[in-house]
């Protein structure tokens, strides 16, 4: 199977990162929800205040994909904070192209992330998985992950821009 290297993403990788983001969203059956652009990724990941960090998996040119790509996997993460235990590493996206699965790329990425977490004094690595994604859940549970939604009852909520704006007009108190 193909050799690969893992490295920190660079500005020139944003086009590939966006391509892989859309592939993962398609798998999660939510492709139309991706509104992020290459320009956003560039500004938000490589500007003065990076909002995320990214690792990419690259294969040599002779092992490029059917449609000519050498960036075949990625993981996007950032640091969050738990008031009970301190710094955490949050894994936002983690994806390997279908034709490159089974050669250990996913495992290596996960190991590298956990090594980063330990090195930066994070107590824990957190992430979310959609409950029907049995393959992913098994992959993580085999490696010692616990499901906090099942074990402790945590539910994820979102509040969209429209409702956020509504709240800002309620700011005054007295």
């Amino acid at each position: 199977m193909a050799n690969f290297i893992l490295r920190k993403a660079e500005p020139r990788d944003v086009s590939d990162i966006l391509r892989l983001i859309k592939e993962l969203a398609k798998f999660e059956e939510m492709e139309d929800q991706v509104i992020l652009t290459e320009k956003d990724l560039l500004e938000d990941g490589f500007g003065d205040h990076p909002f995320y960090h990214c690792i990419v998996a690259e294969v040599p040119k002779q092992h490029q994909s059917a449609d000519g790509h050498v960036i075949v996997g990625f993981a996007m993460y950032y640091f969050t904070y738990d008031p009970w235990i301190g710094k955490l590493l949050y894994l936002e996206d983690f994806y390997v192209m279908k034709e490159y699965r089974g050669s250990g790329i996913g495992s290596e990425i996960l190991k590298k992330l956990s090594e980063t977490a330990v090195r930066t004094r994070c107590s824990s690595m957190h992430f979310i998985v959609v409950e029907w994604n049995k393959t992913a859940i098994d992959f993580y549970k085999r490696r010692g992950a616990s499901d906090l939604s099942l074990e402790e009852g945590w539910r994820l909520f979102k509040i969209d821009k429209q409702n956020l704006l509504k709240m800002t007009s309620e700011e005054r108190t007295g």
Binding site: Q33, D44, Y78, I85, I159, D160, N163, L165
Partner: protein, 171 residues
């Protein structure tokens, strides 16, 4: 009663620690609190803060039964959605029981929303325990959507020994 909502300062960390513990007791997990005001000071006020915090303060004449004037807090940080971009995650929102019903929670949250708007964040996320009906009602009234129910998202983690084991396998 005049209530002030303001960014936290390093000297507020002892009060924030106190309120974090009060919230953990309410969430029935007080033994899970492992950090103190020292870590809060180090991690929230250096050149690279890992969180932002707002404090709700009342004047001295309205201090609590046990003499506190800092009566609520909101702790949040910036995250990133590969679909939408910049997001705010509100990790904790808490108001001491004797100060509820005065709009403090609403004001704290509105200030977080204002910060989110200023930083061009498109969404605010948070998590709630499934039995916590008062909080569920509070957020749903503000337009929150339960993504665990709607889309099936679950929180997972690698913690403690599980994380160390995984890291030790790294080449």
């Amino acid at each position: 009663m005049k209530i002030t909502i303001r960014p936290a300062k390093p000297e507020d960390c002892k009060d924030i620690e106190r309120m974090i513990m009060e919230l953990a007791v309410y969430e029935k997990m007080p033994d899970q609190v492992k950090i103190s005001h020292k870590e809060l000071e180090r991690d929230g006020f250096g050149p690279n803060p890992f969180y932002q915090c707002l404090v709700a303060e009342v004047p001295e004449e309205h201090m609590s039964k046990d003499g506190q004037t800092k009566v609520g807090y909101a702790l949040f940080f910036y995250t990133y959605s590969t679909w939408k971009g910049r997001t705010v995650y509100m990790e904790d929102l808490y108001v001491m029981p004797e100060y509820r019903g005065k709009g403090i929670g609403k004001a704290l949250m509105a200030t977080v929303a204002k910060v989110a708007k200023e930083k061009h964040c498109v969404r605010l996320q948070l998590s709630v325990l499934d039995w916590n009906k008062p909080s569920l009602d509070f957020y749903l009234a503000k337009g929150a959507e339960d993504l665990t129910a709607k889309e099936g998202w679950h929180f997972l983690r690698f913690h403690g020994i599980a994380l160390d084991n995984l890291a030790q396998e790294a080449p």
